[in-house]
């Protein structure tokens, strides 16, 4: 975690130094687009990056600050996209979701339980890889 923080800290300062330059609007857009692509790739590959974001949110009293909630939001997004990609029957999803609600499943657990029920544990592990929701 410390090396991740150091790496992101270095990236942050580098971004800052380049962004501080008097760049034309189009150059700035180009630089940010490149940066955005690299960071998106990095966030997918580096375990713990998302949870670190939540910790920082709490530190500065801004944004999403609950680690479980951040993980759950990201996982639910992947699970629902996967269900849509597989053309899952909404009525079947509704049945599974409402059953979880009836059992008072904590909201942070819903993506995992929904995925395990409708997509299987192996798919869940694949979808939640690097976010921190693995079984």
């Amino acid at each position: 975690m410390r090396s991740l923080r150091r790496a992101l800290g270095f990236t942050g300062r580098l971004v800052c130094l380049v962004a501080m330059l008097p760049l034309p609007w189009s150059w700035r857009a180009g630089w940010y687009a490149l940066l955005g692509r690299l960071v998106a790739k990095g966030m997918d590959l580096v375990p713990g990056a998302f949870t670190m974001m939540a910790e920082q949110g709490a530190q500065y009293e801004m944004g999403k600050s609950d680690r479980d909630e951040v993980v759950s939001i990201l996982c639910l997004k992947r699970v629902v996209h996967e269900l849509d990609r597989r053309a899952a029957e909404p009525a079947r999803v509704a049945e599974a979701y409402l059953a979880l609600q009836a059992n008072r499943t904590p909201t942070s657990e819903i993506p995992k339980r929904l995925a395990c029920r409708l997509l299987g544990a192996a798919t869940w592990n694949k979808l939640s890889r690097h976010i921190g929701g693995e079984l």
């Binding site: 971004v15 800052c16 857009a29 940010y32 940066l35 801004m62 909404p90 979701y97």
Partner: protein, 245 residues
């Protein structure tokens, strides 16, 4: 019943905001904004179509994609790089999100003022990390919109799980629908702002300084935004954003 315009990305917050406000409306114009920093504005059409299907015929729902690159650029750097630096240091140079957000708000207010709509809203949410869309910034936006006779609301500001609310709303519909966010992608301006704030500005200056500087920036830019809106409203014909003629 009333007519309203909203800042619509097609993501979970704006979709839930539209669903929350719908019972009060008979007409809703959903404006999706694009700049050269935004990719795939067409992604918003998916949920615009879903909402149209869910809300019509009771609510007349219209959707338009509007290019606001010139406004965002103007609000980002109205008097040039040197002036930005002199007034706000690296903050105004590095934070793109503020200019982008404010440009969208300006265009929604303008749209409402042009069409005589008394209400505007968006999916502004307390769980966003950067920008002025926070408890301390929202009153200024409401005041700005109010000065043009537009009431600005934030129907999902306090919700932390709009993704679950949206999913549930869709699954409880008849017939059930799989609802999820489908929105344009920020190419990297948001990433840059986030990295700058998390790893440079906030560790160096702290959250209090951040709030103070953001409010100072907002006051400065709202004066310019007012001039922009007034100038457009003074023109006799046409809408500056081109939405719905």
């Amino acid at each position: 019943m009333t007519a309203a315009a909203m800042r619509f990305s097609g993501g979970k917050d704006s979709v839930m905001a539209a669903l929350r406000m719908a019972p009060k409306l008979d007409k809703l114009d959903m404006l999706t904004f694009t700049t050269r920093m935004i990719a795939d504005a067409d992604a918003s059409r998916r949920n615009a179509d879903v909402l149209r299907a869910m809300l019509s015929p009771r609510v007349e729902v219209r959707h338009a994609i509007v290019d606001i690159d010139a406004t965002a650029q103007f609000l980002y750097e109205p008097r040039g790089w040197r002036d930005n630096w002199r007034r706000f240091g690296s903050y105004a140079v590095c934070c793109m999100c503020n200019a982008c957000d404010l440009a969208m708000i300006v265009h929604v207010v303008l749209h409402c003022a042009r069409h005589g709509y008394p209400l505007a809203f968006d999916g502004g949410n307390s769980t966003e990390f950067a920008g002025f869309l926070d408890d301390w910034g929202l009153p200024k936006i409401k005041q700005f919109a109010g000065s043009y006779g537009v009431r600005w609301e934030y129907p999902v500001y306090g919700e932390t799980r709009t993704d679950l609310l949206m999913l549930e709303r869709g699954l409880r519909a008849d017939p059930p629908k799989l609802l999820f966010g489908s929105q344009p992608r920020c190419r990297g301006g948001g990433t840059a702002t986030n990295l700058y704030l998390r790893f440079y500005y906030l560790p160096r200056h702290g959250a209090d300084d951040y709030r103070e500087t953001t409010l100072r920036w907002l006051d400065d830019r709202l004066k310019l935004a007012r001039k922009l809106v007034d100038a457009h409203l003074a023109r006799a014909t046409g809408t500056p954003d081109g939405a719905f003629g």
